[in-house]
């Protein structure tokens, strides 16, 4: 059938009508000629022709693409139906929008932070290695030498690559005039890095095999696409020009493809350099290339075709055992594990919060769907008369089902649009919340859309089910001419109850999770860190990035400290190699007179290098001995200050900490270092966890060039930032701070952000879930009241008091809720156990939280049933009895 006919079918219909009329005239004329009266002649002509309406219809249908046509008709009818019930439509669309929106937003975050495959070809089959794993941990980075040995010997792999994070001051002045130096983050990679990943550069080339051979020879750099585009102006002519990294000239040989954003979801490298250039980029010379214990590298690889992961693992295990035999000093107990990169990423502790969020947000969707289902059901039963009339008039059952499906699809589409809009707003909010560097890429892309559509599909399925049920009812109604049919009412009663019970149960789970996370957040915020982060400004500086020697850097730091201490409004100031919650460091230590239970010589111990006045500035109490002084110089005897846990665990056990003074520790088997002080325990970067043994060395003896200045202020620390920057510039205009932040913000954004995020989000979900459940309950109780109007009338006519009617209705509402509540509490006990590690010591079965949520739910459901109950109370017995 031609489309032209389809669109011209109105005209055609008129045309044919005229033609039929013409036939009738001609036939009538003929009949008159045979002697009939005009009236008889016309009647005979019509008899001869047959039913003109039917003929016209036949012709009309010949011009119709019936599927398209009826679809359009369904669509218009649905729109009309939905517009006739604006409040119903609005509630359903908003419910769906919230459910789908919450899901889409959370999925985009969780996917962006955890599950998205890396932007490389065949990312699913990329392998990740751990070569220093142990019985306790499944994770452990690789050293350059181990990588070389494994790569040289293993038969199971196409190739293996290593990479390591570096930061450097990148000065593009030679290549892009007018652009100042940047503090840039990059990757130090083996020469086969790009080849193995299978990514092509946008411009220029990747690295050549020769560039992975000789330390310090090939000063070449590949730039990250977004860094090149956004910071360096995006000029393709940059390839072949020179940029300066930490003051050394590097030739730009290429720019990565736009789609390649690195090998981690959280970090988009600004540049890539060959690992052979490590001496230029770190203060440790070629240490990374020659020390088997310097396990700084992540190792990725790909399987040789035909080799299974199990075979590869078996070979790796053998190779690691060989390495252990050959290098017992360095590779003792080092276990090798090979996994798919995406599996390794989703197995760690960090994957728990996203998984919890995902589960909770799916619960929200289920609640929303259940709500939509009960709304659809209520509406379907309200439309029972209409539906049964349609059936009686000969509408096919299929047509009615299609009508319901069309309506559900329209509702879901509206809900989906609203949801996506809400999600887009939420995502923008998240992006604003997250630190600008090192946050995952958040966006609504194909994967997120697919998730949203699945969510919408779930709601459609929920919406259609009650509609189907109602058609069955309508059939029965055709037969009995009654609007309420008892047979199926029982079935639907149960369905309703299950829906409401389920909603309540799921809301209880959400609310309890929210309650626990909120309590955990409050507790975490109030927990004593062992130091005071308030009124503290942190300024991270590394003068060596501008080419200052270690001695010059040390002098710079000392001068800076003096200048900053002199600023008015500064109470005290100090320096540390790292700051809790930002970074950390641990070295192998031996302790005279102590051996570990397993007989190891060395214990890997957290340590920091700090300037005099550090503990006073941090407000960490000195329990015994002294703080460091500037007299603790390189030539002077080496000294250390330990925390109480260190003293008790390794040095003295019980008793006065004074006895710890004078004990000797060593870096591996190095020179003796005397303990000169004991300080109280303080957090090294986690909240609510036991403080591990830790110690500090004087920056003047073991410090590096990169230090964080800590400034304790009398007033708002942020207000001093520009003055401190000014002092740095006054000392050396080339030196730019790596970061400037208040300590409080650091603690919240790095230590508490997750708990806060979980608390805020689950609270949002919980409130959303509760609201949906309350609305659902209100609907069901209202429906119940309207169904029982007669019964209530009879009861009142027989003398039942208003109070007893109120009790009856509220009671039946509570009965509905109680089953859901009990199920929800039981379900919560199972779910919250999984959250234990995120609760800062709050019991996952916290009685207070469980009890208050139960009370909240009971209150909410009393309120939800009280409104329809009060309507029931006002029922006039006479009206109710006349109702039928």
């Amino acid at each position: 059938m031609s489309l032209k006919r389809y669109f011209w079918r109105k005209r055609w219909a008129e045309e044919r009508a005229r033609e039929l009329e013409s036939y009738l005239e001609l036939e009538t004329d003929g009949n008159i000629e045979t002697g009939m009266s005009p009236a008889d002649a016309r009647a005979a002509a019509i008899r001869k022709l047959g039913n003109p309406a039917l003929i016209k219809e036949t012709i009309y249908e010949m011009n119709t693409i019936s599927f398209l046509d009826s679809l359009w008709r369904d669509f218009r009818l649905s729109l009309r139906n939905l517009r006739r019930n604006p409040s119903f439509t609005l509630i359903v669309v908003v419910t769906l929008g919230l459910g789908i929106g919450a899901n889409t937003a959370i999925f985009s975050v969780v996917d962006g932070a955890m599950f998205r495959p890396l932007p490389v070809p065949d990312a699913r089959h990329l392998l990740a290695f751990d070569t220093a794993a142990s019985r306790e941990t499944q994770f452990g980075n690789s050293s350059f030498l181990d990588w070389q040995d494994i790569r040289g010997r293993a038969k199971s792999f196409q190739d293996l690559t290593i990479f390591n994070h570096v930061s450097a001051s990148l000065n593009p002045a030679g290549a892009v005039p007018g652009v100042s130096a940047h503090y840039a983050r990059g990757l130090m990679v083996s020469d086969n890095f790009f080849t193995l990943l299978g990514v092509q550069p946008a411009i220029g080339r990747g690295f050549l095999p020769e560039e992975g051979k000789v330390p310090g020879r090939d000063a070449v750099v590949v730039l990250g696409y977004s860094f090149w585009k956004n910071e360096l102006g995006g000029d393709p002519a940059i390839v072949g020009r020179q940029v300066r990294l930490n003051g050394h000239s590097f030739t730009v040989v290429g720019v990565t493809a736009e789609s390649f954003t690195g090998v981690e979801l959280f970090l988009r490298p600004d540049f890539y350099v060959p690992v052979m250039m490590t001496s230029v980029l770190s203060s440790d010379g070629n240490g990374l290339l020659v020390n088997r214990t310097w396990r700084a590298f992540e190792m990725d690889g790909r399987l040789r075709p035909g080799v299974t992961l199990q075979q590869a693992q078996a070979e790796l295990t053998v190779l690691m055992r060989d390495l252990e035999r050959q290098h017992p000093d360095t590779n003792k107990d080092c276990v090798g594990i090979v996994r798919y990169e995406i599996e390794r990423r989703t197995q760690g502790d960090g994957s728990l919060p996203p998984k919890i969020l995902l589960v909770l947000v799916v619960l929200v969707l289920l609640i929303a769907s259940a709500n939509v289902a009960s709304l659809m059901m209520a509406r379907a039963s309200a439309r029972l008369r209409e539906t049964s009339t349609q059936l009686a008039m000969g509408a096919s059952r299929f047509r009615l089902v299609r009508q319901f499906v069309t309506e559900s699809v329209i509702l879901a589409a509206l809900g989906l649009s609203l949801g996506l809009a809400l999600a887009a707003i939420c995502i923008r909010g998240f992006v604003a919340l997250l630190p600008p560097d090192g946050s995952p890429l958040l966006q609504i892309d194909g994967r997120v859309l697919a998730w949203a559509s699945c969510a919408a599909l779930v709601t459609i399925l929920f919406g259609v089910a009650p509609a189907l049920l109602s058609i069955r009812d309508a059939w029965a109604a055709v037969a009995t001419t009654r609007t309420a049919v008892s047979g199926h009412r029982a079935v639907r009663g149960i369905t309703r109850r299950v829906l409401i019970g389920g909603q309540v149960a799921l809301s209880v789970v959400l609310l309890i999770a929210a309650g626990l996370f909120s309590r955990a957040f409050v507790r975490a915020e109030g927990l004593d860190l062992g130091f005071r982060p308030d009124h503290m400004l942190l300024v991270e500086v590394d003068p060596s990035l501008q080419g200052l020697t270690p001695d010059q850097s040390a002098l710079f730091h000392r001068q800076l400290l003096d200048r900053v201490s002199a600023i008015s409004g500064v109470r005290s100031a100090s320096l540390a190699a790292w700051v809790p919650f930002v970074s950390g460091d641990s070295w192998d230590l031996s302790i005279d007179g102590y051996t570990t239970p397993s007989g190891d010589k060395w214990v890997d111990t957290i340590n920091n290098r700090v300037a005099p006045g550090y503990f006073a500035t941090m407000h960490i109490p000195l329990l015994s001995g002294r703080e460091f002084a500037w007299q603790d110089r390189k030539k002077a005897p080496l000294v250390a200050i330990v925390n109480e846990t260190f003293a008790r665990k390794y040095l003295i056990g019980q008793g006065s900490v004074d006895k710890a003074l004078g004990h000797i520790v060593r870096l591996r088997e190095g020179d003796p270092i005397q303990v000169v002080g004991v300080v109280a325990d303080s957090s090294v970067g986690s909240i609510g966890q036991p403080v591990p043994p830790a110690l500090c060395f004087p920056a003047s003896q073991m410090g590096g060039p990169r230090m964080t200045l800590q400034v304790r202020t009398a007033g708002d620390p942020a207000a001093l930032a520009s003055i401190v920057r000014g002092q740095i510039a006054a000392l050396n205009p080339e030196v730019v701070p790596i970061s400037v932040d208040t300590f409080e913000h650091v603690v919240v954004s790095r230590g508490l952000i997750l708990t806060r995020l979980l608390a805020v989000m689950t609270s949002g979900f919980g409130i959303l879930g509760l609201a949906l459940a309350v609305v659902g309950l209100y609907g069901v109780v209202s429906f119940m009241v309207s169904r029982r109007t007669q019964e209530i009338g009879v009861r009142m006519a027989l003398g039942a008091g208003r109070a007893s009617i109120l009790r009856m209705i509220v009671g039946s509402g509570l009965a509905l809720v109680s089953i859901g509540l009990i199920t929800g509490l039981a379900l919560s006990m199972a779910v919250t156990r999984l959250m234990t590690s995120l609760l800062f010591g709050i019991s996952p079965w916290d009685i207070g939280t469980f009890a208050s949520i139960a009370a909240l739910l009971v209150l909410a459901s009393v309120a939800a049933s009280a409104i329809p109950a009060s309507r029931a109370m006002r029922v006039d017995p006479m009206t109710a009895l006349r109702y039928e």
């Binding site: 001609l26 004329d29 022709l49 012709i59």
Partner: protein, 109 residues
């Protein structure tokens, strides 16, 4: 009437005559078949519509013998080809049925 034969009859009617309107076509078919084929006149119009849609016949508005407006149909070139094709097949069908009904020798039974 056999499915599809009405189309053929219409085409055949139009092939021999000048353009004719629906009323004429119906009566011609009836008369030629000596009233054996009772065309339900109503069913003629959907058939005409179908044939015109396929481009086998074309139509125009004209004035009838007794001054009535009527829609006239004529055979198109494709329609003529179609008629040849259909009547050929019809002949074959008739002969085949004939051979079945009146076998040349009863031995074949």
């Amino acid at each position: 009437m056999l499915q599809g034969t009405l189309d053929m009859l219409i085409l055949r009617t139009l092939a021999a005559a000048p353009p004719a309107h629906g009323h004429t076509i119906a009566h011609v078919i009836e008369k030629r078949s000596e009233d054996v084929l009772q065309v339900e006149h109503g069913s003629l119009y959907p058939a005409l519509h179908r044939l015109e849609d396929r481009g086998w016949i074309a139509s125009f508005w004209g004035t009838s013998e007794n001054n009535r407006r009527a829609r006239y149909y004529r055979l198109t070139a494709t329609g003529r080809k179609q008629l040849l094709h259909q009547s050929g097949r019809w002949e074959q069908l008739v002969q085949a049925i004939g051979r079945v009904m009146h076998p040349a020798s009863e031995e074949e039974l």
